[in-house]
């Protein structure tokens, strides 16, 4: 009997790791963004996207709240805010 031999590509998106966050989440201020893309490069989840200046956002369904994006942003245009705070 054959079965369960492979898993489907990219199927981990079923697992919403955003539930891991306990303290802080990133807030993209969209004021001084220069579209350097460092936040896109450095995000361990690969969930930050955007093209032009002040257009970047993060998928909080998966964000674990590591804070790397806020730390790396050269313009301090990403802020870690309290989990309960409204964006």
């Amino acid at each position: 009997m054959i079965g369960h031999m492979t898993s489907k590509p990219g199927s981990s998106t079923a697992n919403k790791t955003g539930s891991w966050r306990t303290e802080a989440k990133p807030k993209f201020l969209r004021k001084n963004c220069i579209a350097c893309r460092m936040c896109v490069y450095i995000c361990p989840e690969g969930i930050i996207e955007g093209k032009g200046k002040n257009e970047f956002s993060c998928d909080l369904n998966y964000c674990k709240g590591c804070g790397s994006c806020a730390k790396v942003c050269p313009k301090k245009d990403i802020e870690m805010i309290a989990e309960m705070e409204k964006e």
């Binding site: 898993s7 590509p9 690969g46 969930i47 998966y62 790397s68 790396v72």
Partner: protein, 289 residues
């Protein structure tokens, strides 16, 4: 959702340097790539059944054999006449590369398979709980090299894995760092443009094992490079091409950023010894700008 070939929903720790680098590598390589992955954090956090983060064909067999599995994939593709259109990447952690996987890696390099090997070097066996590997740096506190009255942590220097790879006479060897994401992608693309065996070793901080805050991954990685403790260079057909350091920082700045070196801060002699390693690297690889 962001365009990437390593999808979210994986279970890497927050701030994982390996997750950053692995995504950069596969996104630079593109969808016409097959990956053979050794056992380790990356395999575990990205493929817990029935889910997978990978959007390229991906196979895991054992802890030490991804080089041989990749050799088989490459040979199979050659037989099918498809090798020229498809990249093959073998990837592993530092233990799966420099310790248990070294024999299979050496065989793959020596036989000349058209495969890029990527070592994600977080400098200990993180998946099993931070035990020492052959790529653990001197004095590092791991669970099997704990500092005590008779020890200042790991007694031995890192195995010179990039030089060992280069000694096989392969066309391309490179080191890189999660601190320099664009450089990783540039080197992956360059490596894949070259036929034959290639070796890349990427320094990937592990917030859990190195004991730094999860938002410090990039900074810690950069400090390793800026102090000379993690030299960034390429060997193109054996010719050394270093990435020069604009302003060399004292090793203490790197050490104090991580809990795994905390025991050194009261030990000036040990810090001196670590500085000597950085100085050696700077001279050996010509890192001074």
């Amino acid at each position: 959702m962001a365009e990437t070939l390593l999808k979210p929903g994986h279970t890497a720790c927050a701030g994982c340097g390996q997750a950053i680098a692995a995504r950069l590598v596969i996104d630079a390589a593109g969808k016409n790539t097959i990956i053979a992955n050794n056992t380790g954090c990356l395999e575990v956090f990205s493929t817990k059944y029935p889910e997978s983060s990978w959007c390229v064909p991906w196979i895991h067999s054992l802890f030490e054999n991804c080089s041989a599995v990749a050799s088989g994939i490459e040979s199979g593709l050659k037989y099918l006449g498809k090798k020229d259109a498809i990249n093959v990447i073998a990837q592993a952690g530092d233990g799966g590369t420099a310790d248990i996987g070294l024999q299979a890696l050496s065989g793959m390099l020596e036989r000349g398979h058209d495969v890029l090997f990527v070592c994600y070097d977080n400098e200990a066996y993180m998946n099993t709980g931070i035990q020492r590997s052959g790529l653990t740096p001197t004095t590092s506190n791991t669970t099997t090299t704990p500092p005590g009255s008779a020890s200042t942590g790991n007694p031995r220097p890192k195995k010179p894995m990039p030089d060992i790879a280069a000694a096989h006479g392969i066309p391309y060897v490179a080191t890189a760092s999660a601190g320099y994401p664009q450089d990783i992608q540039k080197k992956v693309k360059k490596a894949l443009s070259i036929k034959g065996p290639k070796y890349m070793q990427i320094h990937v901080p592990c917030p859990l094992g190195w004991r730094h805050e999860s938002n410090m991954t990039l900074e810690v990685a950069k400090l390793a490079v800026e102090t000379g403790l993690y030299p960034i260079f390429e060997y193109e057909n054996g010719k050394l091409i270093p990435r020069k350091i604009a302003l060399i920082k004292p090793v203490e700045e790197y050490l104090k950023a991580q809990g795994r070196f905390k025991h050194l801060l009261k030990d000036p002699q040990a810090i001196k010894e670590v500085q000597a390693i950085a100085d050696f690297n700077i001279a050996k690889y010509g890192l001074k700008a």
